[in-house]
């Protein structure tokens, strides 16, 4: 399958606030050697708990922040090495929708200008036509053209943000917690909308979320992140039916199931992920980053970093306990 996006060894380190400059300075490895690909029209889900680096991956791909290392290829072009102006040529093809439609839409602009902002050198009439067309696509009425963001509910604002993102027919849409702030009944509407648009416009999604059920619902493949690294990636069905990484198993077991009769093994992971400036990972880069919480950790896990092994078709896992096939 051709690759639309290829991310290779992506790294983003942030300096730790309190550490002294220069030698011995500490870094938060927000994204640590992350690699994956997305095929045209494919949805890759990116899950993991707060602070594991999901947003940083998304923003680095678009170069909204500069990665510390690694490469990002979009349709074969290395966009990490492009100079500023040339990056802009790729922008229309790669768009992003954020969690918080309240802060991502300029409060002083009306819908027509918000949604049509990316259009240049077109007549007003043409702009209106295009915006009305895309509003209809996302289930909004053309009557709202001259209204401001504060006049809308959260779900409507998210529709406006999606309309804005898809106006120029991107091939890749990065959804960063795009439905996380919404109530379930509205969340379901937006998920269904994203599924419909994906089919109609043949877009690929990088769907970032901490909500495993949502990710399972929308993704073709899923990558699980922990402390800046991808621990497991597999086709969705496979990952949820047969998770292999201990972290993935605990993560799945932690999701409350809306069925009071559901009798299942209670797997509760102890401890907490230690990441971010307050914790500044002090570990030397040794061993598996999940080892401190992993109940199956052996001596080797604390000494050596496990390689990413292939455990089945499209299924890769970073754990010594998993044998490669």
């Amino acid at each position: 399958m051709a690759k639309l996006l290829e991310v290779k060894d992506l790294k983003k380190y942030f300096p730790v606030r309190s550490a002294p400059l220069g030698f011995g300075r500490k870094w938060v490895k927000a994204v640590d050697r992350v690699s994956f690909t997305i095929a045209p029209g494919e949805t890759l889900g990116l899950v993991g708990e707060s602070g594991c680096g999901k947003t940083t991956v998304g923003r680095s791909i678009l170069r909204l922040i500069e990665p510390t290392g690694g490469k990002v290829f979009f349709k074969g072009t290395d966009i990490t090495s492009l100079a500023g102006k040339k990056v802009r040529l790729f922008r229309p093809k790669m768009q992003i929708v954020f969690q918080d439609p309240y802060s991502s839409l300029n409060p002083r602009m009306v819908v027509l200008d918000l949604v049509g902002e990316g259009l240049h050198g077109v007549s007003l009439q043409k702009k209106k036509d295009l915006v009305v067309g895309v509003l209809e696509r996302v289930g909004l009425s053309p009557e709202i053209l001259y209204h401001y963001p504060h006049e809308f509910s959260g779900g409507q604002r998210q529709r406006i943000a999606i309309a804005r993102a898809i106006l120029l027919q991107p091939e890749l849409l990065i959804c960063d917690e795009a439905v996380s702030a919404l109530d379930v009944s509205i969340q379901a509407q937006i998920i269904n909308l994203l599924i419909k648009l994906r089919q109609e416009m043949k877009m690929a999604y990088l769907f970032i979320s901490h909500d495993l059920a949502v990710v399972k619902h929308i993704s073709h493949r899923v990558a699980v992140m922990y402390l800046g690294q991808i621990m497991e990636v597999a086709p969705t069905k496979r990952l949820f039916a047969n998770p292999l990484h201990p972290y993935t198993k605990f993560l799945l077991a932690a999701v409350p199931v809306p069925d009071p009769e559901c009798k299942r093994e209670r797997l509760v992971l102890s401890g907490e992920a230690q990441m971010g400036a307050d914790f500044a990972r002090t570990r030397v880069d040794e061993g598996c980053c999940f080892a401190p919480r992993c109940p199956y950790a052996e001596d080797r896990c604390r000494r050596e970093e496990p390689p990413l092994v292939t455990a089945g078709k499209g299924h890769q896992v970073k754990c010594f306990l998993v044998k490669s096939k």
């Binding site: 708990e49 504060h150 495993l212 399972k216 932690a254 999701v255 809306p258 009071p260 907490e272």
Partner: protein, 344 residues
């Protein structure tokens, strides 16, 4: 039915809103008027049970919880009506918390009835060490003589251990911001339980936490509830949490309870179209199904529909639904529904 520990009858809490210039946009905006945030809510909390209150944002869950102990600032809140009968001793008549002299209510708060919030920082004092805060709660609420400082320290450390804090001494001497979110939530639970309350009100206690930490906290709450025989009023928008934690549950929509039943009954035989809509809106790990979203959105609380509040979004709405709000009726023992479809 058993004698209730807490009996909430026809609770009504309103807000007077001033509105904003140019309010009332497409989605309602903000205009002036009275919001009936809680409008005739009734339920009972039995000794030792977990009662879940579920519903979407703005349906009145927090207002219900806070008003029970008169914790809402008035104004803007208006305690418009209702009774909150607290009956700690089965043989004795209960007392209405809303009619209690302020001093008596203060004595109950934190001692017999305590609260756990979504964000521990709202109830923890940021400039006081964890151990002292929890000890303070114990000292204030000790009946006659104040226990010795050493005694208090011992009890606090025991409680910190009880809620799963591995280095209780370290946590004792830490300020709230020095703890992780999960640890702060444990500290708040310790504070809520230090006086051995009979009733704990938990408003979205795990919503701000990661799923693995959420699982730890929910296990802890379940376990503490069983060992202390607590009654727990658990507020959440997460039906999964309800299924795993609650015994009975009430579903709220626009300030009213639309359906109330045991958890098993509600999950296996949901009757209100809104409850059904909620169920078909949630993506699940244990099933593969297309999502059937509820169409439309919640009405503007200042311009509620004439009949059933759910009628504009309801796939089964009939003519009468748009005219009159349906009465709540008991369709099976312990299962009540407010929907015209049940009037036969």
């Amino acid at each position: 039915m058993e004698t209730a520990l807490l009996e909430v009858k026809n609770l009504a809490v309103h807000f007077q809103t001033a509105g904003e210039p140019g309010g009332a946009g497409i989605a309602g905006g903000v205009s002036a008027g009275v919001i009936k945030a809680v409008d005739g809510v009734s339920f009972q909390l039995l000794p030792g049970e977990t009662f879940g209150l579920v519903g979407e944002s703005g349906c009145g869950k927090s207002v219900t919880a806070l008003s029970l102990l008169k914790l809402l600032p008035t104004p803007p809140a208006i305690l418009a009506g209702g009774e909150v009968i607290y009956r700690p001793e089965k043989k004795r008549p209960g007392k209405d918390l809303w009619q209690l002299p302020h001093g008596d209510l203060l004595k109950l708060r934190g001692k017999e009835i305590s609260l756990i919030f979504q964000e521990p920082m709202t109830s923890l004092n940021p400039v006081m060490k964890i151990g002292r805060q929890i000890g303070e709660a114990l000292r204030i609420h000790s009946a006659e003589k104040t226990p010795a400082a050493k005694e208090i320290r011992r009890e606090v450390l025991a409680m910190l251990t009880r809620v799963g804090i591995h280095h209780p001494e370290r946590a004792y001497d830490a300020y709230p911001h020095e703890l992780s979110g999960g640890m702060r939530q444990r500290a708040m639970i310790a504070m809520a339980l230090i006086c051995r309350p009979k009733l704990v009100i938990a408003d979205e206690p795990t919503t701000a936490l990661d799923v693995t930490i959420q699982a730890q906290i929910l296990e802890l709450l379940k376990e503490l509830q069983a060992s202390y025989h607590l009654s727990l009023l658990l507020i959440t928008h997460n039906l999964g949490i309800i299924a795993e934690t609650a015994h009975r549950v009430a579903v709220m929509y626009m300030g009213r309870i639309v359906e109330l039943a045991s958890v098993k009954e509600l999950f296996h035989n949901p009757l209100h179209p809104y409850t059904l809509g909620l169920f078909s809106s949630i993506p699940r790990l244990d099933k593969e199904e297309a999502l059937a979203a509820i169409p439309g959105m919640v009405p503007d609380p200042l311009r509620l529909p004439a009949g059933c509040y759910f009628a504009p979004r309801c796939p089964k709405a009939m003519e009468v639904c748009h005219r009159e709000y349906p009465m709540s009726r008991e369709v099976a023992p312990g299962h009540t529904v407010a929907c015209w479809l049940q009037e036969k």
